[in-house]
């Protein structure tokens, strides 16, 4: 089962880490206005990249990551297990995180759903 539930509700993307991940990442829920989302991409390869410097959170030998990272002045939220089913959501720097890296069910479907919702909200 994936680590995050991703839903679109009333103009916002609502991300809910499941179970203990709420604890590890010190995050109960993230709500991002669709107007601040720049795009979503299915990108399992992101897991192999350097994550930057970790703020509070958990990282068990790279397989399971629930934490906030800072890299080159950016703020990234990671909640990932393994190296598949990973979705990258790019967010406007005005938001507390400018990139979210999440394990989700059906990442390709989630990518399409989010990009379409963002486009519909703009037009």
């Amino acid at each position: 089962m994936s680590r995050n539930k991703v839903e679109i509700k009333a103009g916002e993307l609502v991300i809910t880490p499941r179970g203990l991940d709420k604890l590890w990442s010190f995050t109960k829920e993230i709500r991002v206005p669709l107007s601040l989302i720049r795009g979503a991409t299915y990108d399992p390869g992101v897991v192999a990249e350097s994550k930057g410097v970790r703020a509070p959170g958990l990282n068990t030998l790279g397989k399971k990551v629930s934490a906030t990272y800072r890299k080159d002045g950016d703020r990234h939220y990671w909640n990932v297990v393994g190296a598949s089913d990973v979705l990258v959501i790019e967010v406007d720097p005005k938001f507390k995180y400018n990139r979210l890296i999440l394990s989700v069910d059906d990442p390709i479907g989630a990518e399409q759903k989010i990009n379409e919702a963002v486009h519909n909200q703009e037009s």
Binding site: G39, E90, H119
Partner: protein, 142 residues
């Protein structure tokens, strides 16, 4: 501090176009785009927002190339074409990828495809012909 380095965006989009045209949209990973363009993943996301953002920018660049005074559709119907066939072929390849893989469920891309088709007078014949050429099933008409 987290801002993308200077690099040649048109060249990046040309390389990305070649990749999407060759592999299609879904089968092109961000890993491949990073490898082919030499641009860091973080910079790609900062600039384009997503893989779809890269694809849309590549399609817009291809459509904005100098394609001559006659419409692309007319030119592709010509038996002896002496312009820049590579740019025209690249645009048709990207359009075919967009139509087959994305346009049915993606309004940003379908709106863009419709606009380019209308602007350049691209015919179904030209798109179909190019799809057959790409597959090696017929000789180039260009």
């Amino acid at each position: 501090m987290g801002r993308p380095r200077e690099f040649d965006t048109p060249a990046l989009l040309r390389q990305a176009s070649d990749l999407f045209a060759r592999r299609g949209y879904a089968a092109t990973s961000i890993d491949e785009v990073v490898k082919v363009t030499g641009v860091a993943r973080g910079s790609l996301y900062s600039i384009f927002g997503s893989k779809q953002g890269i694809f849309a920018a590549a399609l817009k660049r291809a459509a904005g190339q100098r394609l001559g005074s006659r419409s692309l559709g007319e030119r592709l119907d010509m038996k002896h074409y002496h312009g820049d066939p590579a740019e025209a072929a690249s645009l048709l390849d990207l359009l075919n990828v967009a139509i087959l893989e994305m346009a049915s469920h993606n309004h940003e891309i379908s709106d863009l495809v419709q606009h380019i088709i209308d602007t350049h007078g691209i015919t179904a014949q030209a798109l179909g012909q190019r799809a057959l050429v790409r597959a090696g099933l017929t000789e180039a008409a260009l």
